[in-house]
């Protein structure tokens, strides 16, 4: 029989069971200095992720090199500050961007991409290109007509509805920076909507969450996305009705039973 773990060793072992911040030292009743600073750093990184400006140029170059047509647009929220206060504006194109997409014409692809900064430009900078790179061969194998990739600034998920409608896309995949947590400031989400048009509800989308190096790996996420996109196009729908036949990482919407913004 092995020797009994000391309380410190025990806490080390428990810590391996959860990413939660357990076993933190006390200074009196309060937190010790190390943890106060560790927390401050995590919060600073999450804040910076929210306020980092979207830099579409490197993404545009990389996606062009992957043979995707690239169009850059902006939502009706003219700044980060307005974006955070006015979710409605982040769901609508600016007048100029609407004209631009109208001129591009409804080419009617099977799938259009929208790469949107959302609440973490960092997530998009780091993960959008490698994820798309992993996904494109799978879509090509399925014989799908894909593109363009629309890079959208100050954008929320529902902006993809207007973009998809203007392009005449059968489906739209919005890759967007998710609300950053302290332990996940760089999480990328994918929202798939069949027959996109303004007014679609969130219950009519499917979501793959937590795409990042420390979360759902690119290859795995691409595999799930390709399955989902093919099924959506074959069955002509997305949303709750796709949920039942999907694997564990494919839920219609995060099932968190908590009051939150629609």
């Amino acid at each position: 029989m092995s020797r009994e773990l000391s309380p410190a060793e025990l806490m080390q072992a428990l810590r391996r069971l959860t990413p939660a911040r357990i076993g933190l030292a006390r200074a009196g009743a309060s937190l010790g200095t190390d943890e106060v600073l560790r927390f401050a750093l995590a919060h600073a990184q999450a804040r910076d992720a929210v306020h980092t400006a979207f830099d579409p140029a490197p993404i545009a170059a990389a996606l062009t090199a992957l043979d995707l047509d690239v169009i850059e647009v902006q939502s009706a929220a003219a700044s980060r500050d307005v974006y955070l206060r006015r979710p409605d504006l982040g769901r609508t194109l600016s007048g100029e961007s609407r004209d631009l997409l109208s001129q591009a014409g409804a080419t009617g692809p099977d799938l259009a991409f929208v790469v949107a900064d959302g609440l973490s430009a960092r997530a998009v900078h780091e993960h959008a290109v490698p994820f798309i790179q992993a996904l494109l061969p799978l879509l090509a194998r399925a014989g799908l007509r894909v593109g363009p990739a629309v890079l959208a600034r100050e954008a929320r998920v529902a902006l993809g509805d207007e973009v998809g409608a203007l392009l005449g896309a059968r489906a739209v995949a919005v890759l967007i920076g998710e609300r950053p947590g302290l332990s996940s400031p760089d999480s990328l989400g994918l929202y798939l909507t069949f027959a996109p048009r303004p007014g679609r509800h969130d219950a009519e989308r499917n979501c793959i969450s937590n795409i990042r190096t420390a979360g759902l790996a690119y290859a795995e996420a691409a595999h799930k996305a390709a399955w989902l996109i093919s099924e959506a196009l074959r069955r002509g729908l997305t949303g709750v009705d796709l949920k039942d036949e999907s694997g564990p990482a494919l839920t219609a919407q995060p099932a968190k039973e908590r009051i939150g913004p629609a």
């Binding site: 933190l24 006390r26 968190k256």
Partner: protein, 461 residues
Amino acid sequence: MPYRTTIGVHSWVFGDLKDLMAKATPPRAGDRLAGVAAGSAEESVAARMALADLPLKQILAEPLIPYEDDDVTRLIIDTHDQAAFAPIASLTVGEFRNWLLSEAATGEALAGVARGITPEMAAAVCKLMRNQDLILVARKCRVVTALRNTIGLPGTMAVRLQPNHPTDDPKGVAASVLDGLLLGAGDACIGINPASDNVAVIGDLMRLLDEIIERFDIPTQSCVLTHVTTTLELIRRGAPVDLVFQSVAGTQAANRSFGVELPMLREARDAALSLNRGTVGRNVMYFETGQGSALSAGAHHGVDQQTCEARAYAVARAFDPLLVNSVVGFIGPEYLNDGKEIIRAGLEDHFCGKIMGLPLGVDVCYTNHAEADQDDMDTLLTLLAAAGITYVMGVPGADDVMLNYQSTSFHDALYVRELFGLKRAPEFEAWLARMRLVGDDGRLLDGVGTPLLAGAREIAA
């Protein structure tokens, strides 16, 4: 009916009571987003002046959302207690504020009128009150509830131990539960927000918490915060349900967006009561609310978000809950933009709940896209503790790794206990002493000799 105030040569006109209430509300993002906020600082004070002159009876006579259209309005009107209302029936809103602050409004007097106070009355007087008023009056209110321990006694504050895990991993959850217990948290309840809505997974979590509570004979209650219909289904399947949880809002349409109708809550409460799991009481419901939830669902009917929130407390009140808390900073900066707005809203929610007779706790919290930080949370937690808050959250290190937001930590609770000398629920504090986790003064011991470590060793193995 329009309302008027004249300031100098300018006459301010407010179209109806809904407009008057909205414009009298201290500034916040959600009312601006909804387009119901005052257009200027002076207009807001003019609205407060007109509101101060309004008789409480007029609020009863002019429902903000029509009786025919909304079952929450019907609940408010149909259950209004005229006898309880009698002592304040002749007052205007401004006089009501003065009375609440007066020595005549003792804890007993406040408890006596609680069922006569409608949410709209609470919201109206709240708009005339400064933060210090909200703190002082709430502190006088006493609301005591009980199930497997007693919550809300004078000089106590409880903590909900919130051991969330991103994939509901049982060992991960258990590790956080142990961490919280070792830090003296968990008397309000041990309550998990599950990541999954899978009935089997949720049933497993219920059994996990029940086993921990049974094994160590902990005088507390468990809760898995899932949809009321899922909890009902699990009760039918024989799961050990102490508390029925549901998010609720202040309008029928907003509740519908949560998939909730009032009869469902009644059915779930009856089912939980039939299990007879209480040892010292029979309060079996747990509700969460939050300013902005109705607007977020497009279901606010042009009513300001603070008034919608108070109406949610009328829903909660109808089911004799053990616990009710606002998730004040969770819903996002489009509703409460910064630390100042979150602090104000937290004090408002606590005040309104308490004067309506509810065991109000607050999830003192923020998201990373709001203009807020730990300092703001320290401020709100301290003010709420001064105001006699029923309970707060205990999240390991304040970082909820499943819901991606920051709440209060086990250590934060220890801080306010230290500051104000606040005790835990008495049954729970006695248990902590038996477990050799706290001394006679309620302060944590080093925990080396506690029998809980045996449980920790099993989980870690």
